[in-house]
Every structure is written in structure tokens, then in C-alpha cells.
């Protein structure tokens, strides 16, 4: 089949229409309000920064793809998104080669060298900014004035200066060119979440972690002004909604996302209150790449438990219920069952059934076989060793002419095993041998088992006759066979019971 044909040969044959490129386009769309903030305050210089950054990112990505001989992934838009984000988080006064260099470097070192889309461990944009901050600290802290008027720094706000919060919410604050307007970020975030591109888990967990650490250790208690400044200033909102939610560098499991968010929020908060100079503005820049490193690990430790797996082990209990247990060993009369009621005369009845024996039943069967009374009633009376038994059992399970069943009942999700039935098929006959576990003898279970044996024998096509051999002194078995109208004949020191398999109408 050729390649074209194969495209249509993939189950499932219908697919969700949202593609990787759609995701990236939606992310870009949701970043538009923030880009608008940048252009409103900083005009054409902001636009220039954005274009340079995106251009550098896209070109580098394309070159890397050619260089590493990967399929060309530029068209998916992920490089353009990284470039856009990087421009938006830079301060307005940086030389224009900053966005170009950072974008190109991030695409090459952080993304391409790790293996391209989906393989990078660190967020390219934030790592690019981190590199610039470490290399050109002063240039990166000059937020200028621009159209924003006197830019308010988060550090000043925290050291006591009070400002109008609505101004900050609208973007008149110091920071990356696109990260200052809380309103525009939230509009973008709404687009992102309503279209289902990202879920609210990480941002919510992150803000929760941030706020709780600040309340506990910030020294201001529950002070709305203080908390608002922390959330709105220093690029927090932008980081939380657009960078912490980056697919590739965040966990995929639900609990991984929650832990990751809380961890990121906590690290940002702790850096802010650590007192290290400059951390008020730059906490996010250091926190995000650090927390990125934990994403893969968090995925591994929070691997979800599959549906229903806690019931993984069936409990096969074969020590019997206590003698004084309330479950009375009885049986449900198959004829009476038709009346549709499970209870008879107020006594709880249990449902008996046959199930095929499995290898786990080996120990139970050995115990049955070595029971002194069973031994004396069978035709080979010496004790059977474990090894002998296992060899026999493995062969018997394989033998197409032998079927082994256990007489069982499941009571409150636990299986009780009452006995075993072995059918050996020869010609049209099924030769029956059965044992009831010592504890349950004397309740008429043998008769029930023989009755069920007829159903089991019918499973084998062509079976017309049931045959049982019983030692003369085995009164219990004789009684069971007789009660089900088997024909008795004497054969040496034992009795032979025969019955034509009744046809069911």
C-alpha cells in the first residue's frame, strides 16, 4: 500500500479537527491582547522587537531542521509562538539585537539540541530571558519610561510606596513590554481556556501555591493590596498563564500538573521574599526554568492508577468461613429459583456454580486429594507429594479430554471453594470424579455438584452418557448418585453409576 493510501488506513477513522498548528495559532491569538499592550505603550519599537524576535526564532528553527535533517516543523507555528513570547517578556529599552540573539540562541540550544518540538526540557523563551538577565543584568533592569509614564516597579510598591491598583491592572507598571497589563493577559487566558487549548489546572495551582506561601511567610498576613501587587507585578500573571502552561515543559498527568503549579508558585513566592536583590522583578525568570526541570520527574511519580486497578487481585480464599459465620451453607434449588426470589424461608441462600479450574487452584486441589477420607475412598490410597501433584495438575489442565471444575460461590466479593469436579471424556461418556471439601460435607453439596455436572458435560459436543465409579463403603457419594437417578451396577469392589445425559427441552 502506498503512503497516500496508508493515510486512510488508520483507526479511528474520524479525528478531532484541532491540530498542532491550530493550537499554536490559538496561543498566538490569545497573546494578541498582550502584544496590544506592548504596542500601546511602546509603539513601533515594540512591534519591531516582536517582529525581530519571531523572525529570528522561525529562521533558526528552519535552519536547525535542515541542519539536523529533521522534517521541517516551522510550519507548526511553535517557533513563532516562542519568539513572540520572548519579545513580550523583554523590557522596552533593550538593544534590538537582544531579542534576535535570545530567540536564535533559545531555538538552537534549548530546543533544537534537545531534539526539537516536544523534546525540550526548558521553556525556550524564559531560558532566553534568563541568559540575557545573567549576562546583561543592568540593561535588563532598565524599564525606561516610554509612553507608560513613570513606570512603577514592583520593588518600590513592596517597600511601602502605594499606587493605584487599577493603573497597574491596565499596564502602567515596569516589566516586560507585554506582561504588565493584567486585564489583557486575562482576556488572552480566557481565549486559551475556552477553546480548550490549555486547562486551568496549572495556573490555578500556581496562583494557589504563590498566595499560600506569601500569606504564610510574606510577613503581611492576608493583605489584599500586598497579594495583588505580587500577582500583578513582576510578570507573574503572564508567566503563570502563558509560560507555565507550555505543553512541552510541563507535566501531563493531573496530579503532576497540580504539583508542578504549586511548586512553581511556591518557588516564585520564596524567591520574592528571600530578600535577594532584584528578585522582586526577576523571581519568575529564575523560578520557571528551575521548575521545568522537575516536569518529567513529576510525570513519572504521579503516573495515574488505571481504572479499577485496585481490584487487581481477586481474593481466592480457601480457608473456609468460620463455623459460626452467618452464611449458612445451603444451596439454591434450581427449580425454585424460577420463582424469582433469592431468599427462601428467611435463610440466606447462596448460589453455587462451577468454574473451570486455573493454575492458582493447585494447592486447594492437593489438599482435597490428600484428605484422609478422600484417600480412603479413592482407588489409589497413598499420599500424593507436592511435586507429583503439580506434574499431574499441569498435565490435566492441558489434557483436551479432561475438564476440571471447582464448585464455588462468591459471597461478598470473596470466592469460596467447596469442592472439585473432574470430567474425563471417553467416547460419548463423561467419567465423573468429584470431591467435596471436608468442612462442607453433609450439606447435600455432592448432589448439587452432580446436578451441575450435567450442564458441564453438555459443553462437550457428543456427550451422551454420565459415568461414576464409587467404592462400596463411600456412602455419601452413593447417596448423591442415587438421588439423581443413576443406574447402579456392581463392578468388583466398587459400584458403577450410569445415566444417559438428559436432553434439555
Amino acid at each position: 500500500m502506498n503512503r497516500e493510501e496508508k493515510l486512510y488506513d488508520r483507526t479511528p477513522f474520524v479525528r478531532e479537527s484541532l491540530s498542532t498548528r491550530d493550537c499554536m495559532l490559538l496561543v498566538m491569538l490569545s497573546l494578541l491582547p498582550s502584544a496590544g499592550t506592548a504596542m500601546y505603550f511602546y509603539g513601533s519599537r515594540a512591534l519591531l522587537m516582536i517582529l525581530i524576535s519571531m523572525g529570528a526564532a522561525v529562521c533558526t528553527e528552519a535552519l536547525c531542521c535542515l541542519l539536523f535533517r529533521r522534517s521541517l516543523t516551522v510550519t507548526d507555528g511553535s517557533a513563532a509562538v516562542s519568539g513572540l513570547i520572548l519579545a513580550l517578556i523583554l523590557p522596552p529599552t533593550v538593544p534590538l539585537w537582544f531579542p534576535a540573539a535570545a530567540s536564535a540562541g533559545a531555538m538552537l540550544v534549548v530546543k533544537a539540541l534537545f531534539g526539537g518540538i516536544g523534546k525540550n526540557v526548558l521553556n525556550p523563551a524564559m531560558t532566553g530571558k534568563l541568559a540575557l538577565t545573567l549576562l546583561f543584568y543592568d540593561a535588563m533592569q532598565n524599564f525606561g519610561t516610554g509612553a507608560a509614564g513613570e513606570a512603577v516597579r514592583i520593588a518600590d510598591l513592596l517597600s511601602g510606596e502605594r499606587a493605584d491598583l487599577t493603573e497597574i491592572l491596565l499596564g502602567r507598571a515596569a516589566g516586560g513590554i507585554g506582561t504588565t497589563s493584567g486585564v489583557n493577559i486575562l482576556i488572552g487566558a480566557m481565549i486559551l481556556m475556552l477553546t480548550g487549548v490549555v486547562s486551568i489546572t496549572i495556573p490555578a495551582a500556581c496562583l494557589a501555591g504563590l498566595v499560600s506561601i506569601l500569606i504564610l511567610f510574606g510577613g503581611h498576613g492576608i493583605d489584599p493590596y500586598y497579594l495583588a501587587v505580587q500577582i500583578l507585578g513582576g510578570g507573574t500573571l503572564f508567566t503563570v498563564f502563558f509560560m507555565a502552561t507550555d505543553f512541552t515543559t510541563s507535566p501531563v498527568t493531573r496530579w503532576g500538573k497540580i504539583l508542578y503549579g504549586v511548586l512553581l508558585g511556591a518557588v516564585i513566592a520564596l524567591l520574592r521574599i528571600s530578600g535577594i536583590p532584584g528578585m522582586e522583578e526577576n523571581a519568575c525568570v529564575f523560578a520557571l526554568p528551575a521548575v521545568n526541570l522537575t516536569a518529567r520527574l513529576l510525570d513519572r511519580v504521579t503516573m495515574p492508577r488505571p481504572f479499577g486497578i485496585r481490584n487487581a487481585r481477586r481474593t481466592i480464599r480457601y480457608d473456609q468461613p468460620d463455623a459460626d459465620s452467618e452464611v449458612a451453607v445451603g444451596y439454591q434449588d434450581t427449580e425454585r429459583e424460577m420463582s424469582g426470589s433469592g431468599r427462601e424461608g428467611g435463610q440466606e441462600t447462596i448460589l453455587l456454580g462451577l468454574r473451570p479450574a486455573v493454575s492458582e487452584d493447585s494447592a486447594f486441589l492437593l489438599e482435597l486429594r490428600n484428605d484422609p477420607i478422600t484417600r480412603s475412598n479413592s482407588f489409589q490410597t497413598s499420599e500424593i507429594t507436592q511435586a507429583e501433584h503439580e506434574q499431574w495438575y499441569a498435565r490435566a489442565l492441558q489434557d483436551p479430554d479432561t475438564a476440571i471444575y471447582l464448585l464455588t460461590s462468591v459471597i461478598d466479593e470473596e470466592e469460596y471453594r467447596f469442592g472439585q469436579l473432574r470430567l474425563h471424556f471417553e467416547g460419548g461418556a463423561a467419567v465423573i470424579s468429584y470431591t467435596i471439601a471436608p468442612r462442607y460435607r453433609g450439606h447435600g453439596l455432592g448432589r448439587e455438584l452432580l446436578r451441575l455436572a450435567e450442564d458441564a458435560a453438555r459443553l462437550r459436543p457428543g456427550t451422551t452418557m454420565l459415568v461414576g465409579e464409587v467404592k462400596k463403603q463411600n456412602e455419601a457419594s452413593k447417596k448423591s448418585f442415587r438421588s439423581l437417578d443413576y443406574q447402579e451396577s456392581v463392578l468388583g469392589d466398587h459400584l458403577l453409576y450410569r445415566k444417559t445425559l438428559p436432553t434439555v427441552v
Partner: protein
């Protein structure tokens, strides 16, 4: 109760195409084909030979083992022989060929049974004789399932009427047209399991069926009709049981171990027919739909009829479309298979629909790189991490695959459906899973869920 499960997706179900088309009967052509494998176990053993004359309802092949089922003729006529024929899944299987004499002479059916005077063993026997298997696609003989269930305390007998596959409307029509047959099938189940409550589960997108079933069960104290969220894969056995009862089971377990017996719409209807009127399973309701079908329809089809006749009864392709522009599917688009050959393949007990989609509508694209968006993890109904399982199968790392619970996958395809990179997660996972299941030592307890060979 939650009425649903966690994960899953809302699909554009396409059921409107054939929802309003009443079930009509198709007159079969001259040659009927009965593959000997229409169940999970060994092939059935033919009991007729070339030259024999058979009647409608006559047994033509017998079950070989527990996991196999009887087969019956659906037309009267002469047995032409036993030949190898291709089936919908692409396998070539020995099949009984019968020349249809178009007289439809039936075998003698005894007088209808009265449920009240019918014993449990009679019911079991009737179900086995009728050759009923899990008609939702499992192919597990119903007799075998019920026999296994009889040693457990069964609290719920569930009718799975959800039909969550897109496009298929055969269950929808059946519920609407003959709800009493389905309800009666459940009544039979309840007679066999006297402690159980009966639940009929329908999807939210089927309010008419819900009403019809409510009407029908007004007198039954033991039967409850429940509406579940319209979500894929709500009809998957484990998700269904969870939504209805809150009980969970994993892929190693069978429903009766947690006290549930689940049968689907068709199976319940077939049980009713087998127990009450002695009729074997010889017809199926087949939906022919999809955006490339001229007049999407629902048909009652005799088993053995060829897909071509069924497809042509729906008017064939939409005028203007060429077959090369379409893809033919056996079953629904989520879990069905592509029909790679021509349409000269027989309808079997496990057929449910012929869905024909235009290539344009399929969103087909080459897979691109995974960007770890985590959507597959969000939607997986079994709480797995499909992207991790994909990585394990690409590396052929069996132990990691098992450690990451890959064998719990139910092949629902939801991860592939949602993947924005169009990666074929479920197909790769299924391939790896099948490979592991072939090795009993690796498969361990999972081997208990009989894999189709």
C-alpha cells in the same frame, strides 16, 4: 450516581443521517456464505455436506469448544460446499456456501415457551442452541458468560443500549421499534439471576428510546432505565458498569466477578427470541451510513448475505463520488476496521454497520511530533498515559509497557482521536498489546480476557 466516567470525548456522532430510517428487510441474493468463525473460539464444525438441503433455522455447524457457537442457515436451499472465503476483517475462513432457493422454508419451531414455566437450565440450553454470542463485537458465547456468572452473586443485569460509536443507529431503531423484545430479553436474564436488579442504559442522545423503554417497563419493579451522558466510550463495558453501579473492574476481570452481567441490545433481543420462540440467531440489524452513502438506512439482514447487496440496497455511493474517494468501514469509525477488499464479504453475527466516509472528511494527515500536550492522558477512559505507552511500544520495551499498565488499554481509540499531532497512539498500543498477549507468560492474568485470535 455520576451517570458517566472520567475522561472520554464528545463526538460528532453523525447519527442524524440514518436515525429516522425505519428498519427494512433485505431480500438476500442467490448465494449465502456462512463463515465457520463468527465467535472468539475455534471454528465450528459443519454438520451438513455438499448436496444437503437445508431449511431456515436449521443448524449447519456445531460449536467445537466452550468458546465457539452453533451456526444456523438463514435461507432454505442446497448446500453447495465448504470453501475458503474472505470475511470483513480480511481473514480467509472456511465457510459453508448455500444456494438460496428463495422459498424460505422454515424448520418446525415448537410452541412458544412461557417464561414462568421455563427453568434456568432450559434457558441456558436455548441460548446455546441458538448460537448467541456477544453481539456488541466481543463474540464471546453468551452461554459461556452466563455459565461463568452462575457461580457468582449477580446484583445487576445490565442491558447495554448505549451505542456510542458514531453513525451506527441499529440499536437506536431497534429500541424505538421493538422495545418490548429487548425488555423481555432482560426479563429472562433476571429470571436466571433472581437477586439481580435490571438496568437498561441508554445514551442522552436517545431521548425517544428512553421514553419507549420507560413505557415498556412501567410494570417491572426490578427494571430501571437509566440515561447516561452522551460521551465516547460510554458503551465500553467497564465504563458502563462504573457509571451505573459505581463498581470498577480492570482488564483482568470479568464483569460477573463484581456481580454484573452485561448484554447489548442485539444480544438481549436474540436471547428473547431464542428462549421464547425457539428461533436461532439468523438475522442482524445493519446500519449503512456515512457521508458518502446515497440514502443512509437501517436493514434487517439475513446472516450470510453479502455486504455488496446491503450496500446497494442503500443506493450505493452519493452520486458524483467515485469509490477511490471514499473509505469503506466494517463497524463504526472508532473501533471498526477498514474493508480493504471489495464488498463481496458476508454479513456475520458480529456485523453492525457499513460506514462509508469520504476521504475529505477524515482529517487524515501524517503524524507530526508529540508536543506533550497531555490530551491523550486527559481523555483516556482507563486513566492510562498513552504517550508513555507509545514510547514503550516504539522502543519495543515489553516490561515497561506492562509496568505502565498497557494491558489495561481497551482499544477505544480516544487517544488517537484527540491527538492534535495525529499520532496513531491506539494502533501502536494495540499492536504491542497483541504481541504481549500472544505470550502467556507475559500476559499473565490478562490472558483470562479471551483475546480474539
Amino acid at each position: 450516581m455520576a451517570n458517566t466516567f472520567s475522561g472520554g470525548v464528545k463526538l460528532n456522532d453523525g447519527k442524524d443521517l440514518s436515525r429516522n430510517a425505519p428498519i427494512t428487510t433485505i431480500i438476500p441474493g442467490p448465494e449465502m456464505v456462512y463463515p465457520l468463525v463468527q465467535h472468539i473460539g475455534n471454528p465450528s464444525i459443519p454438520v451438513v455436506k455438499a448436496g444437503d438441503h437445508v431449511l431456515v433455522g436449521q443448524k449447519i455447524a456445531e460449536a467445537d469448544t466452550d468458546l465457539s457457537a452453533h451456526l444456523h442457515a438463514s435461507v432454505s436451499g442446497k448446500v453447495l460446499g465448504i470453501e475458503n472465503r474472505r470475511t470483513a476483517d480480511g481473514h480467509v475462513v472456511p465457510s459453508i456456501i448455500i444456494a438460496n432457493d428463495r422459498r424460505y422454508l422454515e424448520i418446525f419451531y415448537p410452541e412458544n415457551r412461557k417464561l414462568r414455566y421455563t427453568s434456568r437450565s432450559t434457558m441456558l440450553h436455548a441460548i446455546r442452541e441458538a448460537g448467541i454470542v456477544g453481539l456488541g463485537g466481543s463474540g464471546l458465547p453468551t452461554y459461556f458468560k452466563l455459565l461463568g456468572g452462575s457461580s457468582h452473586r449477580i446484583d445487576y443485569c445490565i442491558g447495554n443500549l448505549v451505542e456510542c460509536e458514531p453513525y451506527l443507529t441499529s440499536d437506536y431503531r431497534r429500541i424505538l421499534e421493538t422495545p418490548e423484545k429487548i425488555v423481555n430479553g432482560l426479563r429472562i436474564m433476571l429470571t436466571m439471576f433472581p437477586r439481580a436488579r435490571g438496568i437498561l442504559a441508554v445514551s442522552d442522545n436517545n431521548p425517544e428510546g428512553y421514553q419507549a423503554l420507560r413505557e415498556c417497563t412501567r410494570q417491572d419493579e426490578r427494571i430501571h432505565v437509566r440515561k447516561l451522558h452522551d460521551k465516547y466510550p460510554q458503551g465500553s463495558e467497564r465504563q458502563l458498569i462504573y457509571a451505573l453501579t459505581g463498581r470498577t473492574l480492570n482488564a483482568k476481570m470479568l464483569p460477573y466477578e463484581i456481580g454484573c452481567i452485561v448484554n447489548n441490545t442485539d444480544t438481549l433481543a436474540a436471547i428473547n427470541q431464542a428462549v421464547i420462540t425457539h428461533e436461532p440467531l439468523i438475522t442482524k440489524i445493519i446500519t449503512v451510513s456515512g457521508d458518502a452513502v446515497r440514502s443512509p438506512s437501517n436493514f434487517r439482514v439475513r446472516i450470510g448475505t453479502s455486504y455488496r447487496e446491503v450496500f446497494e440496497a442503500a443506493g450505493g455511493l452519493t452520486p458524483g463520488l467515485r469509490p477511490e474517494e471514499c473509505v469503506f468501514l466494517d463497524g463504526g469509525p472508532m473501533m471498526g476496521n477498514r474493508i480493504e477488499s471489495d464488498l463481496d464479504i458476508p454479513v456475520t453475527k458480529l456485523s453492525s454497520g457499513i460506514i462509508v466516509l469520504t476521504r475529505k472528511s477524515m482529517q487524515a494527515a501524517d503524524p507530526s511530533a508529540c508536543m506533550r500536550c497531555g490530551r491523550c492522558v486527559e481523555v483516556c477512559p482507563n486513566n492510562l498515559v498513552p504517550m508513555q505507552l507509545l514510547r514503550d511500544s516504539e522502543k519495543k520495551n515489553e516490561s515497561a509497557f506492562i509496568r505502565h499498565n498497557g494491558l489495561e488499554c481497551c482499544d477505544c481509540g480516544t487517544c488517537s482521536y484527540i491527538c492534535p499531532a495525529r499520532i496513531n497512539l491506539s494502533a501502536s498500543i494495540a499492536e504491542m498489546k497483541n504481541q504481549i498477549m500472544r505470550d502467556p507468560e507475559l500476559a499473565g492474568d490478562y490472558a483470562r480476557r479471551y483475546v480474539r485470535s
